[in-house]
């Protein structure tokens, strides 16, 4: 197996899917000769040309809506937004058209469309290029939301997304693009709607997705030095949510901390915590902990941005709070 970056993994998935299925094509802003805002599509235009790698004007509503129309015509567009923050401008097309087409035809329509967008802070890009948007989209039945944390999953999940007959929001994290991981050369897929235990442990379950999986693993290493053995579960798809895998882990550890980069209030952690307590209430030894960013816009300057973001230390601190016996121990 070769080591490739998340950026390369996503590019390979798109390239292979375009070669496999002539219905697949890409639309987005400066994704052609420029190679995309984060160079994810670099090289694809040279190989596939204007017909498959379609540069668009700065028109997020038209771009997403165009993806909707093309999907209704039986094509499988992969639509790229430069930054996830820009989804606000394409939101009407996503919410009122893409998400509802299956239902409004009572299932009698093809609808395969992937909306890719990079999100997340940590690159001093300021309040309009750093937000985490998944919870903005979570409350919309009809859409699947995928957030890969590593190169292997990124490629396999994106291939599944392209082959899925639903609108899919595929959220990449800009700090993960250079992260390398082992990825097989042949065709493979990672199923949507399946979480994965990425570190086994016994004392507490840390639930995370996207870039926060990496940070959660760092926190788990810190905690291991103190004798706390944390299990880390990567959610991978927050809609549909694989609550069973999360619940199985928590049944074992009896404690859970949920981590994401978005602010906690109204974030995915609240939904996951609620779903978990319905499944494992009798197993829980402590309240479910939630960790996220500060309740502020994403600040620009590095010290402020660091203060805004969750990190391994804040995660570890939350875990300690959870695992400390609250009533003098069992």
């Amino acid at each position: 197996m070769a080591e490739i970056s998340v950026r390369q993994a996503i590019r390979e998935a798109m390239r292979e899917e375009m070669l496999r299925d002539e219905k697949v094509f890409l639309i987005g802003e400066s994704i052609g000769p420029y190679g995309g805002c984060f160079k994810v599509t670099e090289g694809l235009w040279a190989e596939f040309g204007d017909e498959k790698i379609m540069d668009t004007p700065l028109s997020e509503s038209a771009i997403v809506g165009c993806g909707v129309g093309a999907a209704m015509m039986g094509f499988k567009p992969i639509v790229e937004l430069m930054f996830a923050d820009f989804v606000t401008i394409g939101m009407d097309q996503l919410v009122n058209n893409a998400a509802k087409m299956k239902y409004l035809h009572d299932g009698d329509i093809d609808f395969s469309m992937v909306l890719r967008m990079p999100q997340g802070a940590g690159a001093t890009m300021g309040p309009h290029h750093s937000q985490s948007v998944e919870s903005w989209i979570m409350n919309i039945p009809g859409i699947k939301i995928v957030l890969p944390s590593n190169a292997y999953d990124a490629k396999g999940l994106l291939k599944s997304a392209v082959r899925d007959n639903n609108p899919i929001v595929f959220i990449e994290h800009k700090l993960l693009y250079n992260d390398k991981g082992e990825v097989p050369t042949g065709d493979y897929t990672v199923p949507l709607g399946k979480a994965k235990v990425v570190r086994e442990g016994t004392d507490v379950t840390i639930i995370a997705y996207s870039y926060m999986v990496k940070i959660a693993l760092q926190a788990a290493e810190m905690l291991a030095q103190e004798g706390i053995n944390a299990e880390v579960v990567d959610v991978r798809t927050i809609r549909p949510l694989d609550i069973d895998t999360l619940a199985d882990s928590v049944k074992k550890t009896e404690k859970a901390v949920i981590v994401h980069e978005a602010p906690v209030f109204g974030g995915a952690a609240g939904e996951i915590a609620a779903a978990l307590q319905e499944k494992v209430f009798d197993y829980l030894d402590a309240p479910i902990g939630r960790i996220g960013a500060a309740e502020t816009p994403v600040p620009y300057s590095q010290p402020l941005e660091h203060a805004y973001l969750p990190n391994a230390k804040t995660i570890a601190a939350k875990v300690r709070e959870i695992v400390t016996p609250r009533w003098g121990g069992k």
Partner: protein, 322 residues
């Protein structure tokens, strides 16, 4: 002139759809007020010629994105009166088994693209359909209908621009009734007409009389021919007037009564009827026969809708996902 090629049966068909739109609309308004219908109706009385005159030109392999008041686009693309009526009643025999309204229904197999309740929100989708046509290498077109109100939306600008940049076979049909719900035209835009906006996108912009079904036909035919050749989109503006309030329950108190009564003197049905008689295309008896056919089709649809079942709660969660 495309109109010159019209045969007697084409004139009959045009009149059939004009009269159907009017008669069905009268039923929709009356029955909605009586509480028989679930779907809030937006009357197209006075505006029938726009959808009929443009929709009649579409082939089976063409697409249409109807708008709020363009029932004629459904009829001319083969959506039956039974389906529409069942939809108005909210019955399981209506669009998507009662999950969608009839005025936003879609059926890609018949080239009818699902509209949006967000005014102007369907324009980018039409561009995507146009892109799909282009990618398939077909000489089909996608005709998207919208009102003057939509032209103030960013989606209008984005869709017009992208369609022009990619030279897509999209026909933008603006049914300009000079009022956006309750806001009058002069408060909507500082330009004199909608068509002038086409120049900003590098496509032809044409204004024609939307109460003259043949003028609508002629302008649309030209735009379609251009699109089929691969020469890209056009913006067509058809001027017309809304005879009633925005929705059936709107008493329309914000417009001058004399003004509205004046609009009724320029009736697209009367205009066409006169033309048919004066030119000797159809006789009074032949016109009456077309009207009788419409009445029986609508009567049948009412019976069908009334006898149909309401949807049952067990399907509420089906087909959200594939």
């Amino acid at each position: 002139m495309y109109v010159e090629k019209l045969q007697k049966k084409d004139y009959e068909e045009l009149y059939y759809y004009l009269y159907l739109t009017r008669y069905a609309d009268e039923i929709f308004c009356k029955y909605y007020k009586q509480g028989k219908l679930q779907e809030n109706h937006h009357s197209s009385q006075g505006e029938e010629a726009v959808a009929v005159g443009s929709g009649i030109l579409l082939r089976d392999d063409d697409y249409v994105v109807p708008s709020l008041r363009s029932r004629g686009h459904f009829w001319t693309k083969g959506i039956t009166v039974r389906e529409m009526m069942a939809g108005m009643y909210g019955k399981v025999t209506g669009p998507a088994k009662g999950k969608n309204t009839s005025h936003h229904m879609g059926d890609m197999a018949r080239g009818v693209v699902c509209g949006s309740g967000i005014i102007g929100g369907a324009l980018p989708v039409a561009v995507g359909v146009g892109l799909g046509i282009q990618k398939r290498g077909q000489d089909s077109v996608c005709l998207v209908s919208f009102g003057d109100g939509s032209t103030s939306r960013g989606d209008f600008h984005e869709a017009m621009n992208l369609a022009a940049v990619w030279k897509l076979p999209v026909i933008f049909v603006c049914e300009n009734n000079f009022i956006a719900m309750g806001n009058s035209f002069k408060k909507e835009m500082a330009v004199d007409n909608v068509a002038i906006r086409a120049s900003a996108y590098g496509m032809p912009g044409v204004t024609a009389d939307g109460n003259d079904v043949l003028a609508v036909y002629e302008a649309t035919a030209e735009a379609i021919a251009r699109a089929r050749k691969g020469d890209g989109p056009s913006l067509l503006e058809f001027t017309t007037h809304r005879w009633s309030g925005h929705g059936v329950k709107d008493p329309d108190t914000y417009r001058d009564r004399d003004e509205v009564e004046g609009y009724k003197k320029d009736c697209p049905l009367v205009n066409f009827n006169k033309h048919l008689i004066e030119k000797g295309i159809l006789t009074v008896e032949e016109i009456a026969a077309v009207e009788q056919k419409v009445i029986s089709v609508v009567d049948d649809a009412i019976e069908y809708a009334e006898q149909s079942e309401l949807p049952t709660a067990d399907i509420v969660s089906t087909n959200v996902y594939a």
